[in-house]
Symmetry: D2
Amino acid sequence: MVEIVEPMFDVAHLGHVELLSPKPDESLRFFTTILGMAETGRAGASVYLRCFGDYERSTLKLTDHHQSGVGHLAWRTTSPRALARRAEALASSGFGQGWIDGDLDHGPAYRFADPDGHVMEVYYEARRFQMAGREGSRLKNQPQRYPGIGVGVRRLDHVNMLCEEVTENRVFLEETLGFRLREQVILDDGSEAGAWLSVTPQVHDIAYTLDATRSRGRLHHLAFAADNREDVLRAADIYLENDVPIETGPAKHAITQGFFLYAYEPGGNRVEIFSGGYLIFAPDWEPVVWTQAERARGQAWGLRLPESFHSYGTPTVDVAKISLRELPVFDPR
Amino acid sequence: MVEIVEPMFDVAHLGHVELLSPKPDESLRFFTTILGMAETGRAGASVYLRCFGDYERSTLKLTDHHQSGVGHLAWRTTSPRALARRAEALASSGFGQGWIDGDLDHGPAYRFADPDGHVMEVYYEARRFQMAGREGSRLKNQPQRYPGIGVGVRRLDHVNMLCEEVTENRVFLEETLGFRLREQVILDDGSEAGAWLSVTPQVHDIAYTLDATRSRGRLHHLAFAADNREDVLRAADIYLENDVPIETGPAKHAITQGFFLYAYEPGGNRVEIFSGGYLIFAPDWEPVVWTQAERARGQAWGLRLPESFHSYGTPTVDVAKISLRELPVFDPR
Amino acid sequence: MVEIVEPMFDVAHLGHVELLSPKPDESLRFFTTILGMAETGRAGASVYLRCFGDYERSTLKLTDHHQSGVGHLAWRTTSPRALARRAEALASSGFGQGWIDGDLDHGPAYRFADPDGHVMEVYYEARRFQMAGREGSRLKNQPQRYPGIGVGVRRLDHVNMLCEEVTENRVFLEETLGFRLREQVILDDGSEAGAWLSVTPQVHDIAYTLDATRSRGRLHHLAFAADNREDVLRAADIYLENDVPIETGPAKHAITQGFFLYAYEPGGNRVEIFSGGYLIFAPDWEPVVWTQAERARGQAWGLRLPESFHSYGTPTVDVAKISLRELPVFDPR
Amino acid sequence: MVEIVEPMFDVAHLGHVELLSPKPDESLRFFTTILGMAETGRAGASVYLRCFGDYERSTLKLTDHHQSGVGHLAWRTTSPRALARRAEALASSGFGQGWIDGDLDHGPAYRFADPDGHVMEVYYEARRFQMAGREGSRLKNQPQRYPGIGVGVRRLDHVNMLCEEVTENRVFLEETLGFRLREQVILDDGSEAGAWLSVTPQVHDIAYTLDATRSRGRLHHLAFAADNREDVLRAADIYLENDVPIETGPAKHAITQGFFLYAYEPGGNRVEIFSGGYLIFAPDWEPVVWTQAERARGQAWGLRLPESFHSYGTPTVDVAKISLRELPVFDPR
């Protein structure tokens, strides 16, 4: 008898990312007036923000810190039971850290770090945060009004994490959280230079790419989704007028087919405006593998990325300063 | 002890639709030269087609028949076991019809009809159909080259089925196949005038809307996804030049937020070019309910749909003429 | 010997329009925060505004008045001599009214009214108003920074004037100012229902269309140019969220090929966001003549305009209350 | 008494360009199936083509020749008298060559070469070439149907000529043909590195840029106008799939604000797809002057152009092999 493994559907989507900024006021101004996000809360040294299409209270936690970086990122599970299962798997993996009570925008979360040291959480409890009144949308199916200011990004889309070694991190997410590998770069020496993974039909909810500096635990970028390629072009026009330093783009990636624009927010973290890509509905998707030679051809239309793209990143700094507790694993009965 | 029901993930996506055309040559020309789809096979009275972003061999089966209509539509499951589970559930529901051996583009399928009489199938076996050579794409992650001809639709997106009564059909899909209700219209008298459902993060893979003529089993439209709103506008320009009768649009729906263009293919079936909408990642999505008064306001920007939109449809005609067999239900052990 | 008439190039372009609003604060908010225009001056009961691509100090003069309407519109000439020639021609036509000293944003102007009673001016003196500092653009060839707020209209585009009879007004502009007829609607009874005229390669700088109410001197709409069709769609999204009443569109005109969106600003005047159209470089352009049957087919993609489109307008009210002087005609020697 | 010089309006627009290709069949396939242009005639070693928005019979003459290059380009005047005046001015300048009888698509033309050796003509006689039947458009104001194939460029837009020295060529066009200088690059040593000129409100109908190889008479590129930036992005997708070598773009120029895509047609000539830019209606436009430091910042969004952009060009080869005649200068009396 052969065991048939069915796909695991315990993680629903990327929930939020905590960014650290040494210039919190300027970063806040960037995310609100340039990207068009809304402030939805404040607590301690953090401001909480979200896009007009995000349904949770916040998808970005912007924390005042003396240096740039990423605090943590969080995955929402599909159910309370799914959370319990994932926390157990993470604990068994040896990478688990324990439970925290929650945050302004969600309930209990199980903390862990991937092998490279990026701090993450899984959580389930959150509520649909539908804005009303002046901030509400005339469209009932939209959590918040379209801002009509700045880029107007629709939602948090994905993260890209630099790492010292891709494979161990990729396998970790596949095995503990059920991520599926969508695209991959394998160099001539057989090593894995990049992996694009998702739990949703999006071609990536997270990517791991090689850190040219061989550092550990760094963030490459955080990406927000724009509705159209034209919105990304408009974003570049807005960046130009507001002295936001564009690193590269707008242009089209071969991997993911995404239409991209990379820039640095005032705190020094790299932010992408992303549109396009493709959706994967095949349950038996086979990863697309790119060779070293294929990657050497540049992006889809031939653009070469600048050197900084492979070397610049911002570190993980776990500023939570929370005492993790060995909460009993959630039991839904 | 309260039972916690976890979401069911047995159906992966809409697989294909069979359209019937009394003018098969003209319909074929429409789907290939106007929409930019590719012919990928022929068998019997049918031609098989797909879009450049569809990964299966075909997503549209165009069948020569003396009248317009829809033959059947098919849902691909997430695994062989999932297929077995769904076939069993369908058989138990009393709406199951039995197994067929398969078709040019897929393996064994379990046939059934929804309460309104729309013929459907569930299947699992299918293969990734990656075109090579002249028809292959320069992008490895694209099943086929971007056509550069006509509208250039990326993939089959969804179907909209007219029905005599919405609720029984909506509940049937929820209970037997795990569809989730995303949006809904409830009239002042409490009756349900429309339901938008999906198994994917798309806001709808299928919609049921009330048939103003109180007919049963009719197709409202079949929709193909375009990458951008600009592509939909360009589609209207192409339709104009090619005498394709535009029914309404391009404009924006309030429900689904989709940017639409409705027209009739030469065989008389309504076809939509769709872009936009929004993705639903929330595992605990609560359906958006629209009232009669809200619907009376027209589409998102105020457009009124023409009378034909609520009365014109094409019937289900099960032209398979296949002898359904009581195949033993698949047993993966 | 046959006299060969060469084209007249004395009028350069539409300079500005004065709109009257009974709700001046709300109108101002509309033009600045919804359309993204900049306030560039105030004098008396008027606020002066322009778009980021307009090179003169202002293209819109918004005047507080107890009723909606248009004050006047103005044409800039190609040279001082051209101004002298046009003033002389206007004086000879019997429709001239005399000189005014100028306004905040331009020098001496010759006033006149067309046969239908729309008040107009011709002027030459104006200066390039390049904004600097925070309001300046990072692009030296752009008069002002791209706003990144609201629709972001690039420039004043054209006006459409309702009139009791089209022909006399059209001929008046052709003969006194050198306008060229680009497109035209001729009804079955031989009467002219609309005329689209320009002095630039734009398909229209001004249009005259029949007033279904047989009123005189009314404004149909004022139009601002957006860079792309996508910008017009985005404008509709912004209008929706800000309760700006959309009359019709976005859609494509057959006449002019323009992509349009019509709405009412808070003062009650109709405003169009316009993109596309086509440029006419042919020196011997022959007007495109549309028949009654052709117009009955609706807009390019079949849309029917609402009844209000043919009956609603806002009147000309000459609020200048200036004493026109019989200035000596400008003599450049 | 000061003489006031009024603007000269004798040249209406760029009429056509003759390209030479050593691979005429492949070049023809590029212009028809990739760009979507229509073949409108053949004569001798040449095929005549135009875009769907071009009103003359042809705007591109594609000539079989053993090497790449440009044969000539032609300017249409505003009237027969204007042609006579320009021919006289050209003859007086010492750069005139004499009259030719005309070509398939136009009447008598006066030939000349600019100081750098680019062969040009001025002509007036041409006819509006409105296609009917299958090739006609459903829009009466469009000379030809929108192709729905390939990029779908709307019209010939401009040319960019490399030259050994910019100033003498720029002044030549200003003085003999009335071109107006719109933008300019002046290096730190005071030399002129580029000049963008037009007779229309377009920011350039022709540009002269410095040839890094100090060659004479070379073509930098020929540009076709696309309606939207999205069309330019789509063009890049089409180029990718058809192995058309992209040199750089899509991206946005700072100079002209144009959104560009540069590639090589099979014959080796550089072709641009252009959209955007801005229109100049000011009769007293003052040229925008860019410094060396400003140019060093790259394109609008920071892109660096590849080395080939400044060194690659294709030569002028006057393949007309026509005997120029000293036709009496046209006398319209």
